[in-house]
């Protein structure tokens, strides 16, 4: 069941401008995959969501 997708090169979407703390937290959430060079289907959509959401 583990998403056995190959490692992907960084894309413009991944280079979304995120505050360092938000970027670090997101990478922490997806660490099971990123540390193994694998991509999770929700990772890029969530980065985009965090990059475009309005600050509280």
């Amino acid at each position: 069941m583990t998403p056995e997708l190959p490692a992907l090169p960084p894309t413009p979407a991944e280079a979304c401008d995120l505050a360092p703390a938000i970027d670090a937290r997101l990478r922490h959430l997806f660490r099971s995959f990123l540390t193994q060079g694998r991509m999770h289907p929700l990772y890029l959509p969530m980065r985009h969501h965090r990059a475009t959401e309005k600050p509280e």
Binding site: M1, P3, F30, R31, H40, L42, P45, H49
Partner: protein, 287 residues
């Protein structure tokens, strides 16, 4: 396998759980009927004063922005809608039914935040796919109830398992079968059966970490995907939160991408804010 936990002892603990209040059983039965008559549902909730007070409090909350005070259940049905009222009542009833375990490492409030958010997300996905939204909400709310039962009735071995998982930085569910003989998903399905919930809910809870590999889009698929989304939205606020493995088959069947997916993220976050404020996670629902 931990000598303190056996399949027999797990089953015995599940059978010893209190039943859901009669009013909630009647409410859920009415929702499953073809007509879902308002009168029957209102009478069911009215028969339990604590649940009625919770329903009225939620209807009067700022989240729904009502211009006048809601003073009756019929008003609450008009303000919230029948299915939202039922969801709130189910949430309050389950929180009242299950106590707070004394299990080091088990984050009760975080688990409830995750459960409520998953319920909201699963219901939204079910509405989009034409599946039973009420069943989806209940399945989402209870999908990790097995973990709560393990924390309640097998606190020492479950606490040790949680600590080991934290030390190894892995999902606790990866250790459950080896150490306890049963995973929380299976325990949760047995609890749902004990509470006479619909077979579709029992199945979804049991399969929420292992949805079917083929077939049409189903409630187990949507619950599995919703659980994943809620972890990714980081709504539990725990330091060790992580996004679990995702079935690509279930993800494909859920057919989520682009703007609709972005709207779903925003919708769950927004509704979760209102729901958590109303339900006061971890507190007495009648307070």
């Amino acid at each position: 396998m931990n000598a303190l936990v056996t399949r027999r002892s797990l089953l015995a603990s599940i059978r010893a759980l209190p039943s859901l209040p009669e009013a909630v059983l009647e409410l859920n039965a009415a929702l499953q009927s073809d007509e879902a008559p308002v009168e029957r549902i209102v009478n069911a909730v009215a028969s339990d004063q604590a649940l009625m007070l919770t329903a009225l409090r939620i209807a009067n909350s700022s989240f729904y922005g009502v211009s006048r005070r809601v003073v009756s259940l019929r008003d609450a049905v008009q303000v919230l809608g029948l299915h939202t009222l039922a969801a709130a009542v189910n949430t309050a009833a389950v929180m009242r039914c299950i106590g707070r375990p004394d299990c080091p490492g088990f984050e009760f409030d975080a688990n409830w935040r995750h459960a409520i958010a998953t319920a909201l997300c699963t219901r939204t996905l079910a509405q989009q796919h034409g599946l039973d939204a009420d069943a989806a909400y209940t399945a989402g709310l209870l999908h990790d109830i097995g973990g709560l039962v393990l924390a309640m009735h097998f606190a020492p071995p479950y606490s040790a398992l949680l600590q080991q998982a934290a030390a190894q930085d892995v999902c606790p569910s990866t250790l459950e079968v080896d150490q306890l003989g049963m995973g929380h998903a299976e325990v949760g399905a047995l609890v749902a059966e004990h509470w006479h919930l619909a077979p579709s809910i029992v199945q979804a809870i049991g399969l929420h970490h292992a949805p079917p590999s083929d077939g049409p889009c189903s409630l187990p698929d949507l619950l599995h995907v919703a659980d994943n989304i809620v972890h990714a939205l980081d709504l539990s606020h725990t330091p060790e939160e992580r996004v679990p493995a995702l079935s690509l088959d279930a993800w494909s069947r859920a057919d989520l991408h682009g703007a609709p997916l972005a709207r779903l993220f925003a919708q769950v976050e927004s509704r979760m804010q209102g729901m958590a404020l109303d339900m006061r996670c971890g507190e007495d629902a009648t307070a």
